[in-house]
């Protein structure tokens, strides 16, 4: 008999009370007594059915994929976060990792990469510093070995995640040359790029640099390494900003 007096009288019962019963809010002993009475009442039963139909609607909501520009922005933020902690690595290790990510077999590429013997250090500022007594920069032909990302003009944003992980000047070779090429395009940027990598833009060998462009935004600049320079605006093949609107 305990709890008997707490069982709400009805019918009718309020929609809220039936929703509580439906959601398991009521104490078990109250629910046990109320349920058969609610189920015996046609109106209350319709409320239960309406609640079931509502649940079915909610469960059937389609997934919402993350938009590309949000994904790129988050990749970029995580890459920037990862950079200060990045340990000193040898270039061939870095290449091996990149090749693994691209799903390529390592062997041949490692052999090619081993020819470099160059070591670079990634400092907290994201700068690439050649070690003293460093060998000459890699010959441009070798930049093809790591199979640069092949991109179309309208899909530059999709490369942000990959390029942010790289500090590979490729045929541009040095930060100074990059700075010259940016200047040629009237692009001012202080410091080193957030990421830089050789790419292939619609069949043409190029270099993509990612520059900071304000909170949550990234400026993607694609340069033609064969023509760009301080007085060569045409060396800028593409220049676009992605990220938060």
């Amino acid at each position: 008999m305990t709890g008997m007096e707490r069982v709400p009288m009805g019918p009718p019962w309020s929609v809220d009370l039936i929703a509580d019963l439906h959601a398991g809010v009521l104490p078990p002993e109250v629910a046990a007594q109320l349920r058969p009475r609610v189920e015996a009442d046609p109106e209350a039963r319709e409320v239960l059915q309406a609640l079931d139909a509502t649940l079915a609607d909610l469960e059937a909501l389609p997934p919402i994929p993350m938009p590309d520009h949000v994904a790129a922005r988050i990749d970029a933020a995580l890459a920037a976060e990862a950079r200060p902690a990045a340990p000193v690595v040898s270039l061939d290790e870095a290449r091996k990792r990149r090749n693994r990510r691209l799903g390529l077999g390592g062997g041949v590429l490692v052999a090619a990469a081993a020819a470099f013997g160059v070591v670079f250090a990634v400092s907290p500022g994201g700068q690439q510093a050649n070690t003293p007594g460093d060998a000459a920069p890699a010959p441009t032909t070798n930049s093809n070995v790591s199979a640069p990302l092949s991109l179309k003009r309208d899909e530059l944003g999709s490369a942000v995640g990959e390029v942010l992980k790289a500090q590979n000047y490729g045929p541009l070779e040095t930060p100074d040359r990059l700075a010259g090429c940016l200047k040629g395009g009237g692009i001012t940027s202080s410091g080193n790029p957030l990421g830089i990598s050789p790419i292939n833009l619609e069949g043409k060998d190029a270099v993509m640099a990612i520059l900071p462009a304000g909170l949550g935004k990234y400026r993607l600049v694609v340069l033609d390494p064969t023509t760009c320079g301080p007085d060569q605006p045409a060396g800028v093949l593409a220049d676009t900003t992605v990220g938060q609107r």
Partner: protein, 214 residues
């Protein structure tokens, strides 16, 4: 000097979430991004459905993933990686909700609240989900968050209570209130049944009036 040669790179598709977290803790710079890649769509759906505003959802997720990135090294596998990551995302969304001074009203664009736009069986699935989505956006935040987690994303009441930092009973009763409102807005409750007991909360005033003649 640490070289990556000794660091296990486990970003392959077969790795478990826990493997990725360990790899991240061990210095694999790509493991965490891979983890995020796996879960970002679901997290995005939660953030967007909870916060309603895409810009805010993106900000909240970025904030959450960065803080998870920093905390991941100390992650202990006593909870599921997904739950752990989800908790961080939900907390980031809740923080934003709390910081928000005003709650903008998102009107139902095609029909007033409580006026089902068409007989339900005549509507396409797409129209239905649009309507459900809009109705969900109308719920007060305290009801929307548990409904998104329990009813849309399929989390258990216990997990949701943990994620939101409220009692299980509170999760259940907020879900009950929210579902009752949604049942009305979505037209599942026929007029003669729907009584005036579901609080209007300034949302369904029109609907309330419509049903008062019962």
């Amino acid at each position: 000097m640490i070289t990556l040669a000794k660091v296990r790179c486990v970003t392959a598709a077969a790795s478990s979430d826990a493997d990725l977290i360990s790899a991240h803790a061990a210095g694999d710079p790509y493991a965490f991004s891979e983890l995020v890649k796996r879960h970002r769509d679901r997290m995005w759906a939660v953030a967007l459905r909870t916060l309603r505003d895409p810009e805010e959802a993106a900000d909240a997720l970025q904030e959450a993933f960065i803080s998870a990135f920093r905390a991941a090294a100390s992650f202990r596998a006593e909870s599921q990686v997904t739950t752990w990551l989800h908790r961080i995302v939900v907390n980031a969304c809740l923080d934003r909700m709390r910081r928000r001074q005003t709650r903008p009203t998102v009107p139902l664009p095609e029909a007033g609240p409580g006026e089902p736009v068409a007989p339900r069986d005549a509507m396409s699935d797409r129209e239905t989900s649009l309507m459900v989505q809009q109705a969900l956006m109308e719920l007060p935040e305290e009801q929307r968050a548990p409904i998104v987690l329990v009813d849309v994303e399929g989390y258990s009441v216990a997990e949701t209570a943990q994620l939101l930092g409220i009692a299980e009973g509170t999760v259940k009763s907020r879900c009950a209130r929210g579902r009752a409102k949604l049942a009305k807005v979505l037209g599942h409750l026929r007029n003669r049944i729907a009584d005036a007991n579901v609080p209007a909360d300034g949302v369904n005033v029109q609907e309330q009036r419509q049903w008062e003649g019962r």
